[in-house]
C-alpha cells in the first residue's frame, strides 16, 4: 500500500497530491488525513524548470498522468505535509551550473580557481598582518636611536701629551687613553710572558704602540685605577692594591685579568673612534 502510493520519483508531487496521505506514526488520530483530489498548492510560483521539484510541478498540471511505481522510483514516504515547498536555491548557484544540461566538469577550473584564490588572498593578507605584529615586537628589543648615538666616542689624540693618561666617559664607564713614551713601549715589549698572570703580548693589546686604549675598570672588583701610579709605572687600584703596567696588564695584587681593551679604530692619524 505504502509503496504504491509513494513511489513517484520526480512525479511524486503529483502522485502524492492525488493519492491518500498517511498521518505521522506518532499521531494518535485514528482517522487518516485526506486531501481533496483537487487541492492545489497555496501559492503557485512561476519558475524555470531546473530542478526535479519544478519539473514535477509542471507535469502535475497534465490531467490523468502519474507514475505510481516502477524500478527506477524511490520508496520515499511523505506524510501529510504536502504543502511544504522544496526550496529553490537557483539564486545562490554559480551561473555555469544553473542549466541542467551544463557540463560541470568543464567549468570546474574556473569555479575552483575563484574559491582557492579567495582563500589564498586572505591567507596572504593574514601573513602580512602577522609579520607586521611580529616585526613590531622584535624591533622593540633593539637599541633605540638615542642609545646608539652615545655608543661611540671620538677622541682628538693631539690633545693628549706624551706620557699622560686621559680619562673619558664611554658607555657609562671610564676609558683610559694613554700616550706612551718610547721608554714605556720598549719596557713593555721586553716583559717575558712567563712573568705575567694573564699572559698577553703588548703587540696584541695596542694597535699603535704610542696609544694604549683600555677600560678604566679594575678586573678585581670594579674600582677605577689611578694612572701613572703603582710599582710598574702604569695603573694602581687604590681599593685592594692591584698594580697594572703601562700596557694595562695585571702584575701584582688580587685582580685576575688585564684591563679590558675595547673595540676601537683610528679614523685618521689624529683621531680614534672607540665603540
Amino acid at each position: 500500500m505504502i509503496k504504491a502510493i509513494s513511489r513517484g520519483g520526480q512525479f511524486g508531487a503529483f502522485s502524492k497530491a492525488t493519492a491518500q496521505a498517511i498521518p505521522p506514526p506518532s499521531a494518535s488520530v485514528l482517522v487518516p488525513a485526506t486531501l481533496p483530489p483537487s487541492s492545489k498548492p497555496l501559492v503557485e510560483i512561476d519558475r524555470a524548470l531546473l530542478t526535479s521539484d519544478s519539473l514535477g510541478k509542471a507535469v502535475s498540471s497534465i490531467n490523468n498522468f502519474g507514475v505510481i511505481s516502477g524500478p527506477g522510483v524511490t520508496t520515499q514516504v511523505r506524510f501529510a505535509h504536502t504543502d511544504v515547498k522544496v526550496p529553490d536555491f537557483t539564486a545562490y548557484r554559480r551561473d555555469s551550473t544553473k542549466s541542467p544540461t551544463s557540463d560541470n566538469d568543464k567549468s570546474l577550473g574556473s569555479r575552483a580557481a575563484f574559491s582557492y584564490l579567495f582563500t589564498a588572498g586572505s591567507l596572504a593578507g593574514a601573513i602580512y598582518g602577522g609579520k607586521g605584529i611580529v616585526h613590531a615586537f622584535v624591533t622593540s628589543m633593539s637599541a633605540s636611536a638615542d642609545v646608539l648615538a652615545v655608543s661611540t666616542i671620538e677622541v682628538k689624540l693631539s690633545a693628549i701629551p706624551e706620557g699622560q693618561c686621559v680619562t673619558f666617559k664611554w658607555r657609562g664607564k671610564p676609558l683610559f687613553i694613554r700616550h706612551r713614551t718610547q721608554e714605556e713601549i720598549s719596557r713593555e715589549r721586553a716583559v717575558p710572558l712567563s712573568d705575567l698572570r694573564d699572559p698577553q703580548e703588548d703587540e696584541v693589546r695596542v694597535q699603535k704602540p704610542e696609544w694604549l686604549v683600555v677600560l678604566g675598570v679594575c678586573t678585581h672588583l670594579g674600582c677605577v685605577p689611578i694612572a701613572n701610579a703603582g710599582d710598574f709605572g702604569g695603573y694602581y687600584c687604590p681599593c685592594h692594591g692591584s698594580h697594572y703596567d703601562a700596557s694595562g696588564r695585571i702584575r701584582k695584587g688580587p685582580a685576575p685579568l688585564n684591563l679590558e681593551v675595547p673595540k676601537y679604530a683610528f679614523t685618521d692619524p689624529d683621531t680614534v673612534l672607540v665603540g
Binding site: 568543464k106 570546474l108 577550473g109 575552483a112 580557481a113 589564498a120 596572504a124 601573513i127 609579520k131
Partner: protein, 59 residues
C-alpha cells in the same frame, strides 16, 4: 579552460604548490603595499623631505 582554470590546474590543484603560492603571494603583497604606500607618501610630501632639501646642507 581559460585563465582561471589554468591558475587552478597549475597552482592550487596540489597543496604543496598552493602553499608556495601563498607564501610568495604574501611576500609580493608586502612589497607592493609597503613600497606603494611609501611612494604615495613621498609623492604627497614632495618638497618637504630631507632628500629634497639635502643639497642645501650637505657638500
Amino acid at each position: 579552460m581559460g585563465l582561471a582554470g589554468t591558475i587552478y590546474q597549475t597552482l592550487f590543484r596540489r597543496s604543496s604548490t598552493a602553499a608556495i603560492t601563498i607564501v610568495i603571494g604574501a611576500y609580493a603583497t608586502e612589497r607592493i603595499i609597503d613600497e606603494g604606500s611609501t611612494l604615495l607618501w613621498k609623492n604627497y610630501n614632495k618638497g618637504k623631505l630631507w632628500d629634497d632639501i639635502k643639497h642645501k646642507y650637505e657638500k
